[in-house]
């Protein structure tokens, strides 16, 4: 399996993304913002198709749109809490916009499937380096804000009283989420971002009472799911994204038994 370059690239790319998604996603679940992550990926779809239309690599359009939307959400902060309807409408609007962009750029059916459901076996060297740089940036930023982020998440009123700027922390965190979403789309696609960002984190959160253990477990589960999915895809010739979602679902449901 490892005699093929595209397989090595797939393992490396999904490995990078899994670790970032596992760590960033844990806080997403903790903050009850899983839906925001889902919405960001849909907004990214419009960005990616728009980028293709004007001849730019889709990852940059994706990243641009998720970043703008993520920071917008972060700036709105508490006012966005419980606005499921508003978020839902923005995400469908973005998907619709993506559809329109595709309408004008008809030649790209495989590209659409790749965007929606991922194409981990098609990752090239250049994309790999981009993923590594973005992932390192996201983890570094998370490392800087993790402590106030945790405080603001678990006890917002108290954190505010102790001088933490809830809005700033939320803004930076959602920017990190936006980058992570853009990374995940390269592996599992716009529609399946949940599987790497939320599935492992939710399972890990149910399995440990300790923060450090839960974050490490979240990363480990994401890694097992991503690599396991690719290996199973190699042996069965079924889509890798399917296997990743299957493993992610299986781990989550097993964690529920506890």
């Amino acid at each position: 399996m490892l005699e093929y370059d595209f397989m090595i690239n797939a393992f490396l790319a999904s490995g990078i993304v899994a670790i970032v998604a596992g760590a960033v996603g844990y806080f997403l679940v903790l903050r009850g913002q899983a839906f925001a992550g889902h919405a960001l990926s849909h907004v990214g779809f419009a960005g990616a198709t728009g980028a293709v239309l004007i001849g730019v690599s889709p990852i940059w359009g994706l990243l641009g749109f998720t970043l703008i939307a993520g920071m917008g959400m972060g700036a709105l902060g508490q006012r966005l809490a419980g606005r499921d309807v508003a978020v839902g409408i923005v995400l469908t609007l973005a998907l619709g916009l993506g559809l329109l962009f595709l309408h004008f750029y008809t030649a790209y059916a495989t590209q659409v499937t790749a965007l929606l459901f991922g194409n981990v076996l098609g990752v090239d060297r250049a994309t790999l380096w981009t993923l590594l740089a973005l992932g390192a940036g996201a983890l570094l930023a998370l490392g800087v804000i993790a402590r106030p982020l945790l405080f603001a998440t678990l006890q917002p009123e108290l954190a505010e009283a102790k001088g933490v700027s809830l809005r700033f922390v939320s803004l930076v965190y959602l920017a990190i989420v936006a980058v992570t979403v853009a990374e995940c789309v390269q592996i599992v696609g716009v529609l399946l971002v949940f599987t790497l960002m939320v599935g492992p984190a939710a399972a890990a959160g149910r399995l440990s009472t300790r923060l450090s253990v839960a974050v490490a477990l979240s990363c480990a589960l994401a890694l097992i799911e991503a690599w396991g999915g690719i290996a199973l895809a190699y042996w069965t010739d079924w889509p890798a994204s399917f296997w990743i979602t299957a493993l992610s679902g299986a781990f989550y449901f097993i964690s529920l038994l506890r």
Binding site: I145, R147, Q155, R210
Partner: protein, 264 residues
């Protein structure tokens, strides 16, 4: 020196005057119950002491210094608004997230911070509770953990916002006894807001009753009287004492209990 001093303080939220030219002084080491109808400004008062709500007029002094945000000499137990979700993080993690939580970096505690957390947990006697997932604790147990968190860093003033809300009488009593013991042992000033005074009778030094934009601070006998409360509620209030308990009545309604039900 006073623990909290309001000099002609006006607090406004969204254009509405919560407190209007109020002057009060809570002494150091004093245990004061903050009472009043819903919306009277109990939470706003605490947020003002924390520096989160600026005074529209007047001066607020906390422990002898002008009010400021991020004052580590204040311990704070916010009212729980958010249901705690299905994650299994332990009580220890909640307490630990408070220690140095405002600093940048990854949430790792050094040895000193760990000792602080352990000492705070010891103070409230929550050693076993702290290892269990917070989401699985009862309301009273959770308040015990949250109290430990408010004691981190050795505060000289504790602000407890409705710690008794939605607890049954037994658990209310346990929390009151715990707070009373902490107040005696640590010798720190405590402001505790509540819907009714009865669970706190016998342990508090004075009450601060808010209503109608004004405030009355004094002993239970001075403040919880028909004339004073009629002024604060802006309605005819009758105070009845039955078997060591106090009932605040407007017409045939028991106000404090009615509010309690309303909120729970």
């Amino acid at each position: 020196m006073t623990a909290v001093e309001f000099d002609n303080v006006t607090l406004a939220l969204g254009g509405r005057r919560i407190l209007d030219a109020v002057s009060i002084a809570v002494r150091e080491g004093e245990f004061v119950a903050v009472l009043g109808p819903n919306g009277a400004g109990k939470t706003t008062l605490m947020r003002a002491i924390l520096g989160l709500v600026p005074a529209a007029a007047g001066d607020i002094r906390v422990l002898g210094a002008p009010v400021r945000r991020g004052n580590t000499a204040i311990g704070y137990l916010p009212q729980l608004h958010r249901p705690i979700d299905g994650l299994r993080l332990s009580g220890w993690e909640f307490i630990a997230s408070t220690a140095q939580g405002h600093r940048w970096g990854i949430p790792h505690l050094d040895a000193r911070a760990r000792r602080d957390v352990a000492a705070a947990i010891d103070l409230v006697g929550a050693g076993d509770l702290a290892r269990r997932p917070l989401a699985q604790l009862s309301g009273g147990e959770r308040q015990r953990i949250m109290l430990a968190q408010s004691l981190l860093g050795g505060p000289r003033l504790l602000l407890l916002d409705e710690p008794l809300i939605s607890l049954d009488p037994n658990h209310q009593q346990a929390v009151v006894e715990l707070v009373s013991r902490l107040h005696r042992e640590l010798g720190i000033a405590v402001l505790i807001s509540a819907h009714e005074v009865n669970p706190l009778l016998g342990v508090i030094d004075r009450v601060l009753y808010l209503g109608n934009g004004s405030a009355a601070l004094g002993t239970v006998d001075e403040v919880i009287t028909g004339p004073v409360l009629s002024r604060l509620y802006g309605a005819e209030i009758e105070v009845m004492r039955v078997g060591g308990r106090i009932f605040v009545m407007a017409g045939a309604h028991d106000l404090e209990h009615a509010e309690h039900r309303h909120d729970a």
